[in-house]
């Protein structure tokens, strides 16, 4: 009994407080089709579009579809997770274009990006909007 409870405690490492998943990066041989379908289903609009990738949404909630080799299946490449305070992991964190401090690690088939939003995003991540 004692052993079990000790094991339970150990497995629950104290990580940063999670706010939620706020971004997904997919790769697809046909990024236009995947982005269009996503847009249809969720209503998120393109932030920018290039030959290499399409970004839908904004820093707080985005989906990026990157072009992959012809014939390859669609796959999830990155999961972006927002945290309240990046805290003890901060040393490994770097400023990024979304306006956060973030670090990333590979988790199986995809890369996990953990981010604390701390400042305004760079111009490429700013959405043109009507004045309030």
């Amino acid at each position: 009994m004692k052993k079990n409870s000790r094991r339970k405690k150990k497995s629950r490492s104290k990580g940063p407080e999670l706010l939620g998943i706020h971004g997904l990066v997919f790769s697809s041989a046909d990024p236009n089709a995947l982005a269009e379908r996503w847009s249809e289903l969720t209503g998120s609009t393109p932030l920018r579009r290039s030959r290499r990738e399409i970004v839908l949404g904004g820093p707080e909630l985005f989906v990026t579809v990157r072009r992959s080799k012809k014939g390859s299946a669609d796959s999830l490449e990155e999961v972006h997770m927002a945290v309240e305070e990046i805290g003890p992991t901060r040393k490994a964190a770097r400023e990024d274009a979304l306006g956060g401090d973030s670090w990333s690690r590979r988790v199986g088939e995809f890369v996990l990006v953990v981010r604390q939003f701390r400042r305004p995003p760079s111009r490429s991540w700013r959405r043109p909007r009507k004045p309030v």
């Binding site: 706010l19 904004g58 707080e60 306006g99 939003f117 701390r118 400042r119 995003p121 004045p131």
Partner: protein, 231 residues
């Protein structure tokens, strides 16, 4: 100008008051316009164009509440702290140009000398409150302060006032809130504390209608409303 006697013909319930929960912006420093400009500039950096004039009526609320109707729920959930930090940073840059409300610091000193306990209870960040106290040189007259950093929900929620009453043990001294916005009035009334409103913050008279008395500024309150206090 309307005199205090016209504005508050009857003494509010709870008078005479022995303690004051005093708001900062618009009461001690003429900073509401500077806050509106700082928020407008901060939001612009996040791609949101909101004129300072549109934000002016929101000043007095905590940052999270200011943003509630201006950004999407996702932005609010994830970006509000970063937006708030930037707004504070921009406000502090403009702080040297913010002027004290004439006579307000002197009134605080006079109240203290008369034996009234005064706690600054503001929705602004701790750094702003500390800078203002230092600038006005009112620290010896204050029992202490509470700021947005001390509570989860700032005004118009009652937390800042409730914490001030609890932390400085003011309940038995019949506290009254003194503020310049409808959010001060709402916050105080939530916990049954009367609120005296000041016009010095520039809020329209109709927005202060629920106050238990309206005065031009803190100096006017002390000159014409002295009878409301247990001095």
């Amino acid at each position: 100008m309307t005199s205090a006697v016209e504005a508050a013909p009857r003494a509010p319930q709870g008078a005479p008051f022995g303690a004051v929960l005093l708001d900062l912006d618009g009461c001690l420093i003429d900073s509401n316009d500077a806050h509106a400009r700082a928020w407008s500039a901060a939001l612009a950096r996040f791609g949101r164009r909101v004129p300072a004039a549109r934000l002016r009526g929101e000043i007095g609320k905590g940052g999270s509440e200011i943003l509630r109707d201006l950004v999407t729920p996702a932005e609010h959930h994830l970006l509000a702290p970063a937006m708030g930090s930037l707004a504070t940073e921009l406000f502090l840059k403009a702080f040297p140009r913010v002027r004290p409300v004439p006579g307000a610091a002197a009134a605080v000193g006079a109240m203290r000398r008369a034996g009234i306990a005064i706690v600054l209870a503001s929705s602004a960040d701790r750094e702003v409150v500390e800078r203002a106290i230092a600038r006005l040189r009112i620290e010896p007259s204050l029992l202490g302060f509470t700021s947005a950093d001390d509570v989860k929900k700032a005004k118009p929620f009652h937390d800042v006032f409730a914490l001030a009453i609890q932390r400085f043990r003011l309940a038995a001294r019949r506290p009254v809130a003194v503020g310049d916005t409808p959010y001060d009035i709402a916050a105080a009334h939530q916990i049954g504390v009367p609120c005296l409103a000041l016009r010095s913050g520039g809020f329209p008279e109709r927005t202060l209608a629920r106050a238990d008395g309206v005065f031009d500024d803190l100096g006017d309150l002390w000159r014409n409303g002295r009878g409301l206090f247990a001095a």
